[in-house]
Amino acid sequence: MTRHLTERELIEYQFELASATAAQRLAEHLADCPQCSEQLERLKRKYAALELLREEVDVPESLISRVIEQAGQAPERRVVSYRRSAWIGAAAAVLLMGSLLLISNLSRIPKAGHDLRSKQNGRTGGMNLVDTGPAVVKAVPGQPEKTVGKSGAKVAVAGATVSWQPIAEKPPFAPASAIELVVLPKRENVQLTIYNSAFRSFPSPKLPPANVQQQPVGYGGYGGRYGNAPVATQTGPLKTAVSDLTLVREKRHLTLKRGWNWLQFAWANTLIDPTSLQLEPLQQKDKISIEQLVFPSRLRELGRWLIRSEVSGQVPFEITYFTTGVTWRAFYMGTLARNEKTMRLQGYVRLTNNSGEDYKKAQTRLIVGRVHILDEVAQLAQRQYPYDAPAGYGLNANEPLTRLGLGGYGGSAYGGGGYGGAWGPTDGDILFSRPKEVMKEGLSEYFLYTIEGTETIPNQWSKRLQSFEVDDINVTSLYKYDQQRFGRQTIRYLSFANDKDHNLGDTPMPDGSVKIYARADSNGLLSYVGAATIKYIPVGEEIELNLGAARLVGVEPTLMNFETDNYVFDDDKNISGWDEIRTWKIEITNTRPLPVDIEIMRGFDTNYWSVQADVDYSRYDVTHIRFKLTVQPRTKRTFNYTVTTYQGVRQEQINQ
């Protein structure tokens, strides 16, 4: 070889990439060529850096154990080859067999006797109805809990005894798994009492930890009516500036067996506070006792009540709990008459359900007024098992967790808020040709709004209801100019009072937003005037709405003259006091077709002043005066005033 080796050849030689003959040839050349040998050495030095990464890797014993353990759990999968036609045939056979089994099972459903399946509400897979006779009471064979639709709160009952024998002294162990628990009793009716109207975003319902963002969830009683609705996927931060709280009372008919019974309640994907769960029999109270509520370890968002019953059969129960995410807020729409002297006010209530649970045909009641809550129910609902006190709770550890500081509860756990009230009429009782009425009644310092009939509020939905509509409310429009507060803008205010003189005053007005419109023409078209938010307005209190800047009414103050006078000198001939005299011209422009009342506030930087003005004014405070004027439509009005402020010893002289 007459030429030197290329870098490629050297690499191929060094890393044995060349064929045997080529390698032989290259070796011979290198033996004779010191220059190429040197190049090869240089190359070796270069690639020696690779050796830096040649290191002994230690496999941690924990990793090996994990692998072996996982491998032990992993099912051995074998690929089974199959012919397509055979596979289709097998599938058809399975379908056929399934159909036959289904038909035979249906034909075996008993029509009468001691062991009856409840057909109430059209649910064949519902509760097992067991009569109370002396015959043997059969438990429904353990069938897997069927979740239809949303996996919201659901209950299931498991019977522990099957024969008419004395009840065992000791309660049984909790069912090992949900497989032992049977059916989902339908929620008969539900009542929501919503506290604390809220202008805020809601915490996201708890989502399953997996990367599943949507899954069908629901509770059995609804038969999948809302089964396809997705769970909320919002994952934003908690914003609980205002706590919302809803007391849910739901009535369900549970089938008990004589002896010990387990009732399972699951609240996955909801915002229910588990520590607030209460269960009460509505009948046979002397024969049924609720022994305990346990939260099984390793099972999340699930609680089981142990019930001792001396009777068998269906018993109505009431389950109560607190949840969050169901909120309401009030808002109002005011429509000014053409002369803007009167207004029609419509009040609305919007219910929003972000609790993760559907509430069908719920009697809904709203508490007007801010209820003080020590705990954030959203936090309580999102605690992990075991459900200990939330961080910063700050109370005695032995304090029951469900103690919520409900100011107007009247002493009892759920009292005050109409807890003992009768269930309201159903949707069917309400004539839908008219809007539902929102009934109002006083409740200590709070107020209770009860929505007529029942409402179905699916999760992630909101519903608007009219609260009241009042015509001919006398209103006062006032424009205000205050440079220190509003800059150079004129602000429009609209005021009225929540009293009988203004055709209001029946109930307090909940806090909410108010939008004001004006009639633009005789056809009833509206023009937007402005919006404001109001706080809770008790009966008899005046409301002043700040509707924002008024562009058609302007105020222009101009300084026309400035001079100083009345100098006072001290013994050293230095100035020790003087007067400053300013003359202002105020020009008010009203381009509206209506006369406007305007209030102009002027301030001084000293307490020692005197004013001479063309128009009347009043002293507002020690440094401010206020002019009140009426400006006719589409006119300008001008007035002047002169203010003298006293400086230095002149202030003392004025006071004397």
């Binding site: 870098e7 490629r8 690499i11 191929e12 890393f15 044995e16 990439l17 190359l43 030095r45 270069k46 690639y47 020696a48 850096a49 690779l50 830096l52 990464l53 040649r54 290191e55 002994e56 890797v57 230690d58 496999v59 990793l63 090996i64 994990r66 692998v67 072996i68 996982q70 491998a71 032990g72 992993a74 051995e76 999968r77 074998r78």
Partner: protein
């Protein structure tokens, strides 16, 4: 050795759990080293390591007399490639990233400084060189990186590498040459005393 591997695989297929454990212990270090270099992160490598041996556990019956070691590396390679593809899709950012890369070097450097009997400066320079080599290898295309790691670090023959990667011997050599050619420009010069 290979016979023993075969017998272990056969024993595992018969349901002997100890045999599988022995296989993991025997080849774990080389597989983990390989996966660490392929994935560029120890955490990812450990995940891939588990996945690899789970696959080995499940698919051992398909070995059918083939050499275990190349087959094992083939499984590891496929697992790693899948993992890398997934990672590219997901754009995951490791919380331990600093520890894995620069931070890791820093940690090594800190250790070196504190070690008695070593020249701290020398160790620091070595640590820096190591980081450069790691980055140079990480920058290689996946196939070239796999070829280099298998052939150079795992010391598989080129024929075995071809089996692992499922390509021809010529392709392996070309990949290897390209990897080395690229590295020639990227590898740091190491002084004689440091070598």
């Amino acid at each position: 050795m290979e016979d023993t591997d075969k017998s272990l695989v056969e024993a595992h297929c018969r349901g002997d759990r100890k045999a599988f454990a022995e296989l993991v212990r025997r080849h774990g270090a080389s597989v983990l080293g390989y996966l660490t270099k392929i994935s560029g992160s120890r955490d990812s490598a450990e995940d891939l390591f588990q996945e690899t041996f789970i696959r080995v556990h499940e698919k051992a019956h398909t070995l059918r007399g083939k050499n275990f070691r190349p087959w094992l590396f083939r499984v590891a390679t496929n697992t790693a490639m899948d993992g890398l593809r997934r990672r590219q899709r997901l754009k995951m950012v490791s919380l331990n990233e600093t520890l894995d890369s620069e931070g890791g070097e820093q940690a090594e450097l800190t250790c070196a400084v504190g070690t008695d009997g070593c020249e701290p400066c020398q160790d620091a320079v070595m640590s820096e060189h190591r980081g450069k080599v790691r980055r140079a290898i990480d920058l290689l295309p996946k196939r070239q990186r796999a070829t280099l790691v298998l052939a150079y670090y795992q010391q598989l023959t080129y024929r075995e590498v071809a089996q692992v990667l499922g390509c021809s011997l010529g392709t392996v050599k070309i990949q290897m040459y390209r990897a080395l050619h690229t590295l020639a420009a990227r590898l740091p010069e190491i002084g004689g005393d440091l070598q």
